[in-house]
């Protein structure tokens, strides 16, 4: 995928006033709700710390937990498949579907399957994948991609969705734009599909190593339909979703819903362990995908990006995401978490501008239910990307680097620092108006200075003042 870069994509997104209005309403609504949902939990900070510890521990012994999970799933009647990359995962899923003789499958919303472009891979094998999550259905019908982890069609308003349904759904010619009516139309359309489908594909929110239990957290019930009614269930899961113990669920099931939909609990959570005679699918396949996750695991600072439980709280509070929306990030993982996850999943080959798509305000860290220190990882990745070199640094970057190097050289040499102050201060004082440094700065600095005021430099340096203080008794 060509990396056109966040700055260019963001400029396009910012020009779309409808998009900005939709995003503003949505992110502010969910922000306030989340605050209320979190405020009523007296031990929220302790839960966050427990969540961080559990995920950190899971990652530090990931190989053992995955082997334990594999054994437990197989004991419970499931089959485990390993995939080193997206191509391998897609091939495994397509082969499994082909073996059932089915040409159509129903899907539960899964960001991972968007990441590996499973639907395209299946289409190439003559298999149609029907998205059943309302937002995923909206995006599939409009040929659009997800712009948010939790509400993938957040960039669309009701009028746009109404228009789409009237055009694409059978018997929806006089459908209104009321969300209730729109959801009802989706229910009627999908019900027949659920009843007829023999194969379902899902993602997973977590898998418990010690018991082999897999979990899907959802709201609409399309997940329950897909996980219960078909004969064959194929679940594709990133290797980082493993949790060592069943008891770890008691933490995650408190952190995730309140951070995500800002509810005490989401309407439905399904937990299954292999296959159960007389209840649900008769065949269960779990596909474990690396897909670049081990790149992130190698980086002891960046590793914590794998702790993410995909709640999307960081997107909703991010001043950058709020204005640009998800598409500008050019990744299925947008927002602050996407800015640290996307580059690492591609071993810094893709998403190279994303670590700069942040003001480093730190709001993402504050809301993260598993305390991922996103700002620190952002800065760390900026360093790695710069150190790794760019094919052709921009003029501004070269000037900035030269400036920084000159500053470093000056700070290292006291005599040079004194000289710089003696020469620089009178020049800077001349730019002062009303005790602010306001005059236009020269060259490329002009653009930077146009939107910023700096406090005026003092009349004398600290060093001069200190010396004068020693001399006057």
């Amino acid at each position: 995928m060509p990396d056109t870069g966040f700055p260019a994509a963001a400029r396009t997104a910012l020009a779309d006033t409808q998009l900005r209005r939709n995003l503003h309403v949505a992110t502010h609504t969910i922000r306030d709700k989340r605050l209320r949902a979190v405020a009523e939990v007296p031990d929220w900070e302790e839960l966050r710390e427990a969540g961080r510890r559990i995920k950190q521990h899971a990652m530090r012994h990931l190989d053992e937990h995955l082997e334990t999970l594999e054994a437990a799933v197989q004991r419970a009647g499931g089959t485990v498949h390993w995939a080193a990359d997206a191509t391998a995962a897609n091939r495994i899923v397509a082969d499994l579907i082909a073996a059932t003789g089915e040409r159509e499958v129903v899907k539960v919303k899964s960001i991972l399957t968007d990441e590996i472009r499973l639907n395209d891979a299946l289409r190439a094998r003559g298999i149609t994948a029907h998205e059943t999550d309302l937002a995923e259905l909206i995006n599939q019908l409009s040929g659009d991609t997800a712009s948010h982890i939790l509400v993938p069609a957040i960039h669309r308003n009701r009028a746009e969705i109404g228009e789409l349904f009237r055009r694409h759904l059978p018997d929806a010619g006089d459908l209104s734009d009321d969300p209730r009516a729109l959801a009802g139309a989706a229910r009627a359309y999908l019900r027949d599909l659920f009843l007829a489908s023999r194969v379902a594909v899902s993602g997973a929110n977590f898998a418990i190593a010690e018991t082999g239990t897999v979990g899907v957290v959802e709201s609409e019930g399309n997940g329950r339909m897909c996980l219960t009614l078909p004969d064959t269930l194929i679940t594709v899961m990133g290797i980082e979703k493993v949790l060592p113990r069943l008891a770890d669920l008691e933490v995650m099931l408190q952190l995730l819903p309140r951070s995500s939909t800002a509810e005490r609990m989401n309407p439905y959570t399904s937990l299954w362990t292999g296959v159960t005679p007389g209840d649900g699918p008769r065949a269960f396949h779990l596909v474990l995908l690396d897909g670049g996750r081990t790149n992130a695991l190698r980086d002891t600072t960046g590793r914590q990006a794998l702790h993410c439980i995909r709640c999307s709280a960081c997107l909703n509070v991010c001043p950058v995401y709020e204005r640009t929306g998800g598409h500008a990030y050019g990744s299925v993982y947008p927002g602050p978490i996407g800015a640290i996850l996307t580059p690492q999943l591609t071993d810094l080959h893709g998403g190279r501008t994303l670590p700069w798509a942040s003001s480093l305000c730190g709001a993402c860290y504050e809301v993260c239910p598993v305390k991922i220190d996103i700002p620190t990882v952002l800065i760390h990745l900026r360093g790695r990307i710069v150190a790794g070199g760019q094919a052709a640094p921009r003029m501004e970057d070269r000037a900035e680097h030269a400036g920084m190097r000159a500053a470093a050289a000056t700070f290292r040499r006291p005599w040079l620092y004194r000289l710089a102050q003696r020469v620089g201060l009178p020049v800077a004082r001349r730019l002062v108006r009303h005790e602010r440094l306001m005059a236009a700065l020269p060259g490329p600095l002009g653009r930077w200075g146009a939107v910023r005021d700096l406090p005026a430099p003092p009349a004398e340096t600290f060093r001069d003042w200190w010396r004068g203080r020693e001399e006057t008794p």
């Binding site: 995939a83 019930g221 399309n222 309407p267 439905y268 081990t294 190698r298």
Partner: protein, 234 residues
């Protein structure tokens, strides 16, 4: 090399910084850190308070909630079925016969009904394994009187009977109570209100794919001194 060996090899080389003797069997539950001492193992909370909290929070999901004592259970169920004009009530195997409304057509999921039959079903009546007060959550674990998952999914109305002594304080206590079902590989479904979506402008709409209506009936085991008497006294 198989993908399995490849992935595990990549993981092991990526984790070269982790000391070989660091225990991998660590569990928060067994070795709690004071910084992460969240509330768990609560056993001493007043049951009347738990029932009140469960009713309040479950009700806030726009489920219809009410409580009754065992002797008036059948009447309460009959009233619910009348209110929703239920013609036939679907019932899982193992459901207590004494609790069934006598004047209503009952269809048992034994032998299992077809999904087409479930799809046109008006209503299903089940019990539950555990209910969580703090989150207003009902958990079905496929045990007796709860049925297979499709049974409580396809009909339009789900009526759940929650025995008051199955209500626990919070999520940790709930997960704890479900460990046995997981060990027996029974599937679990956590239900918090009727199905819903917020996908359109984050406006919550109830009743997408699961049952569109959820009726919850909390039942005290005897008519003598129901749990909530204390709460009502104040």
């Amino acid at each position: 090399m198989s993908d399995r060996a490849l992935v595990l090899g990549r993981i092991r080389s990526a984790l070269a910084d982790v000391p070989a003797d660091e225990p991998s069997a660590w569990s928060w539950a067994e070795d709690p850190d004071p910084a992460a001492a969240y509330r768990r193992g609560r056993r001493d909370e007043d049951r009347a308070v738990l029932v009140e909290r469960f009713l309040e929070r479950c009700g806030e999901y726009s489920a219809t909630v009410q409580r009754c004592e065992e002797p008036s259970l059948v009447a309460a169920l009959t009233a619910i079925c009348e209110r929703h004009a239920v013609r036939t009530l679907l019932v899982p195997p193992g459901f207590d016969e004494h609790r069934l409304p006598p004047d209503l057509a009952i269809e048992r999921d034994d032998p299992p009904l077809s999904v087409e039959r479930l799809d046109i079903g008006d209503a299903v009546l089940t019990g539950c394994a555990v209910a969580i007060a703090e989150t207003g959550t009902i958990v079905l674990d496929g045990g007796p009187g709860q049925g297979r998952r499709a049974l409580s999914l396809l009909p339009d109305l789900h009526v759940v009977i929650v025995d008051a002594d199955r209500i626990v304080s919070g999520v940790p206590e709930g997960v704890d109570a479900l460990a046995a079902a997981v060990t027996e590989r029974r599937p679990l479904t956590l239900i918090s209100g009727p199905s819903a979506t917020s996908d359109i402008e984050l406006t919550r709409v109830e009743g997408v794919h699961g049952p569109r209506r959820l009726e919850v009936l909390v039942v005290a085991p005897s008519g003598e001194d129901p749990y909530w008497a204390a709460a009502e006294r104040g």
